[in-house]
Structures are given as structure tokens and as C-alpha cells.
Amino acid sequence: MLFSPGWRGPARQGTVLSVFTLGLLLGGLLSGSVIWLLSGLSAPLPSPFRVGAILLVAVLGVLREAGLPAVGGIPLPQNARQIPPDVLQRRLFRGTLQFGFELGTGVRTYVSAAAPYVLALVLLLSHQSYPATALVGAAFGLGRALTATLTLLSRDPARDAAIALRMPWIRNFTALTALLSLTLLSR
């Protein structure tokens, strides 16, 4: 949708991708900032409790992605609707920036994986410094931009099908990585 030819004919796809990435970065930064503000509420909790809760959340993320019936059935809270296509069609750069920003916040549309929830809860519980939390938010936006970048570079008309085929692996591997990393950090 983002790089479709025709109505985007005069615009260079690389420029569209740059504007989209900027929007994602800003959206991620905003979400990171809000999480950092809220994370102050967890600061009074005892450290052992917070470490235990962080690891529990990461384990639940792994179990959910693995499809464990007891956890897999838990619905993820999400804004289960797509960003209206007319956001992109009104104005090229402003619309692309807005589209990226809304996606970058991670709260405006579908969230199909457990990892963003694990990340948000862990950041809430661990109360990192503001620069660290903002950086994680920006990295979240860049992670989303990576998908669009590789899609543009691949020039593969069957790209969506290739991604869909690998999504279970991507989600499981991400959840496992989060658990392993958090376990190592909590030593």
C-alpha cells in the first residue's frame, strides 16, 4: 500500500520510506516517553518483586506465542482496526508521516504479537532512565521500518506471502530472545 505505483507516481519511493520511517521513530518516541512517565509508579515496588514480575511476563509471552492453550486464549488488548487508507491518500508526505506515526505508537492499530506487550510491561516495571526508554521506543519504530525497507528492497511481488509464512517463527523467536535477554540481565 505504501509503495504502490500509480497515484504515488511522482514521488520517489525512497523519499516516501524516509518520511514513513521518521513517522515511526516519532511514534515510538512518544510511546517510550509515555511508558517512562508511567513507569515511575512502579518505582516504589521492591526490586525482587519487580524482577520476578518481569520474568513472569516474559515467560507468559513465550507461552502465548507457543500457543499454549491456557495462555494462548488470552486476548491481547489492542485497537483492532486498521488506519483508514484515506490517511495516505489525502496528502502524500503528511499522510505518510501520519501513517508512520500512528503505526509507531503501537496503540493505533492491530498488535498481532506478544513481544510489544512484554516490552511495554517490562519497561513499566523496570523503570529505566528516560534516554534508555526513549531509545527503546525509537528502536521499536525502527524495527517496524525494517519491514517496509526490506519489502522495498526485495522487489518481490510475493513478499507478503513470504512474511506471512515466517510470522510464527518471527514471533516465537522474538519472545524467546526477550526471555533469554531479560534472564541474563537479571542475574
Partner: protein
């Protein structure tokens, strides 16, 4: 003419290989775990953050 017919598919394969959707996951996962093991907390967090964003590849 013959060369062209041979080169085009291999370039496509190379491009597909370099943009394989699982590659960023492996790279970011390795980076996150390595940073966690080395105590580079912020970089570890950033890698997990990028992974979380990438895990939403199928969603718009």
C-alpha cells in the same frame, strides 16, 4: 542474450536471500543476547525493542 537469461534469476535469488524476513530476527536476537551477556543493558533493550517492532511485520 543467453547471459541475460542466466543472470536475471540468480540476481533475484541473491536479492531474495539478502532480504529474507528471518535474517533481521537472527541478527537482532544475537545482538540482544550478546549485549545482555556483556552487560550492555541499553543496547540490549534497544535490540529487543527493534525485535518487538519487527515482530509486527504482518500488521498495519
Amino acid at each position: 542474450m543467453g547471459h541475460r537469461v542466466q543472470l536475471t534469476p540468480s540476481a533475484g535469488r541473491l536479492r531474495r536471500g539478502l532480504t529474507e524476513p528471518l535474517l533481521p530476527v537472527c541478527a537482532l536476537a544475537l545482538l540482544a543476547v550478546a549485549c545482555a551477556a556483556l552487560g550492555a543493558t541499553v543496547l540490549c533493550w534497544a535490540s529487543v525493542g527493534a525485535l518487538a517492532g519487527y515482530s509486527l511485520s504482518g500488521s498495519v
